[in-house]
Symmetry: none
Subunit: 415 residues, 2 copies
């Protein structure tokens, strides 16, 4: 079976917006044994959208429409899908009531245009939206013209993903062939993409039964995606597992995750297991490290807190860095990184302290301390380790590299 | 005039790859007064690609094919474009000679399949590739069936951009109307999408000379994208500016940016203008506020630093919150938010202090203090304002809402 994804919205035809929803949908459909043969991006013009849906119906078994389900006049997916399918819309008063209750619960009055979100294509199953106002629709067409499945899904990623998992998946499973796909995702820290590929190729190339993709993730991370098909899930799993094992042997402790977990999740897992706690003092990374750590639910068990010490005086106020150390060596120095890690660790009474200081750019670089120079320190009760690195890329990438280095140092210390 | 971009390659139909070339091309075509009405992503299957080109020819004035010009069997763009146009291919021996010389210069022998890169569609102008082996092609169709322009461009971004600038641009300029496009992007804080639409519709609907798109951005932000065409840039600019002005009048101080700037940029701009400084103490947002503020280059001028006070003891250690206040009212309370804002402001000697405390979830909620409840406080030397909100959505969205509220409070205080 094949599918076409139609991403809807005039903003997707500007230079500023990228369709990302379709990447998620592609993965989910692949797992069902469905391939994507076309993706179409179309704006909010009625004729264009209707035409795009008609063409998709003529060349794909499953047509997935993403976006255009909002309450505004621009939101035409319901109307255009109905027209392309030659069906009518009816207003579902139960949906309208629910929408009204949703607004009332927030103390708002629902405007009349919101009622359009209750319009349902004849014969469609309504897929409730637990995260937003726009319900989705699932249509299984089987008439003289043939068979097709059409889905209407909301555009905001968290609404789309939630609805797909809870409402679309089981409906699609009933209608797609029982083909099983197993995947594994190895993540490797602090080795470059081409270096990884060079070492990995000899291992994965002979394994033609597994599809392997190497991807540069966020800075400091390379991902190996493994994917195999078989008639049973066990058989598919066995294929990817045996290749994953061989790759883990090759990359050893540089592999930080073998089932897709993020580095911050893994670090949290290790800290939790040891009953250890962490505190951070960040200069150039500006809170990104704390943000990454606390993005993991339950991180309050091992993360006590930290300081964002942008101003030099604050390095002293919040992390007890002696002012003369900054005067003598500069804020971006091994000594200050060390003092930050030790200072915040003592201040917060944590098992581990991290200190980060560097030049994130674009300004502020000098010949001696260029943009990209970063010092990362990790302190516990026995020792403090400091690493000096010169990271490539722009402000965002340098900040991300620094936090990746810090997390990887904690991981290695705990292994 | 309108255009369709077809991005070619099976990797674009996997969960791992994004088409980015089309963003560049969209911008360049917009500058020529050409709008993109469709983008299609298609794999390396001959029938699919030919069909996609035929459909594009039926609905667009300009069809831009990107990728599939390499030497391998998968590279079928030349063949499929010829078929869709009903023309033949001929092998251009001059191109083949140049390819051979290219290989010889590197000490390599050219394999026979590379000769396919010399295949040219009858009637096409060859566009040399200064950065790679695949030449591009430019076809101006004008026959009984109508008029169309077809471009074949290489996929690697640096080859694509170089060829477009040097070879495609002047050819397109001869054939496109001297049309200019101007855009504006208004951003509105802390008003819902449908409420914005309801108030905006009466203003933008009558203005059929400007295309207006309403977008829900990150939590707490709605964007209005305006776009107009005219024969001169000034005339186009006048159209969008007059509509932007009317919308700014309607939404007044909820409009925080009128040229696309982010809220953290605007807050930084205001703080910088006043010579004021900011310090933050974050509990549930875990560093996200500091991270957003410091993502702006030059933020060290006004952001002195802050504390991520996850653990209750750290709220005292780093932000001087009296422990009895936490005992009495709980960590998530108006009183603690106030104490965080005032404490961090005093500690860091900043003009403004922000305190955030709340329940980001998914765990930790109670009946009295449910997931989503957040207190945001803003302190200066005169007063401390505290806002209580109940945000919808998951952990990520609640954290983002909280930081958006905090930034918007600073902005309003400075206005």
């Amino acid at each position: 079976m094949n599918a076409e994804i139609i991403a809807i919205g005039s903003e997707l035809l500007t230079p500023f917006r990228q369709d990302t929803d379709s990447l998620y949908l592609t993965q989910k459909l692949n797992e069902l044994g469905v391939e994507i043969s076309f993706k179409t991006l179309v704006g909010d013009r009625r004729a264009d959208l209707t035409l795009a849906i008609q063409i998709a119906l003529s060349r794909a078994d499953i047509v997935i429409l993403v976006g255009g389900l909002g309450p505004t006049e621009d939101d035409l997916t319901r109307e255009c899908a109905a027209e392309a399918l030659g069906r009518h819309l009816h207003r579902d008063q139960r949906i309208v009531q629910e929408l009204r209750a949703r607004f009332a619960a927030r103390g708002w009055k629902m405007s009349e245009n919101n009622e359009r979100q209750g319009d349902v294509i004849d014969g469609a199953e309504v897929m409730p939206n637990a995260r937003g106002s726009a319900p989705g629709q699932f249509i299984h067409v089987h008439d003289a013209g043939g068979e097709a499945i059409v889905l209407l899904l909301p555009g905001p990623p968290h609404e789309l993903m939630g609805m797909f998992e809870e409402q679309a998946l089981f409906r699609l499973r009933r209608l797609t062939p029982a083909n099983h796909i197993a995947t594994r995702e190895l993540k490797i820290a602090m080795i470059g993409e081409s270096a990884v590929d060079k070492r990995a190729a000899a291992i994965y190339k002979p394994r033609t039964d597994v599809e392997t993709t190497i991807l540069a993730g966020t800075p400091g991370e390379v991902q190996l995606h493994l994917r195999a098909q078989a008639e049973t899930l066990e058989a598919a799993q066995k294929k990817v597992d045996s290749l994953a094992e061989a790759l883990e042997d090759e990359f050893d402790d540089a592999v930080f995750s073998s089932k897709g977990e993020s580095l911050e999740q893994i670090v949290g897992y290790f800290l939790g297991m040891r009953g250890a706690t962490l505190a951070v003092a960040e200069s150039c990374s500006g809170g990104l490290l704390a943000e990454r750590i606390t993005s993991v639910p339950g991180s309050s068990r091992y993360f006590v807190g930290g300081a964002v010490v942008y101003d030099n005086a604050i390095k002293t106020t919040l992390a007890d860095v002696p002012p003369q150390l900054i005067e003598q060596h500069g804020a971006v120095s091994e000594q200050v990184a060390r003092a930050l890690a030790e200072g915040i660790r003592n201040r917060c009474k944590a098992t581990f302290g991290i200190g980060i200081t560097g030049v994130a750019g674009p300004g502020g670089g000098t010949d001696q301390k260029p943009v990209g120079l970063v010092y990362v320190a990790l302190a516990d009760d026995k020792k403090t380790e400091v690493v000096e690195r010169k990271y490539p890329g722009d402000r965002d990438r340098i900040r991300h590299w620094a936090t990746q280095q810090a997390l990887d140092m904690v991981r290695r210390r705990l292994m």
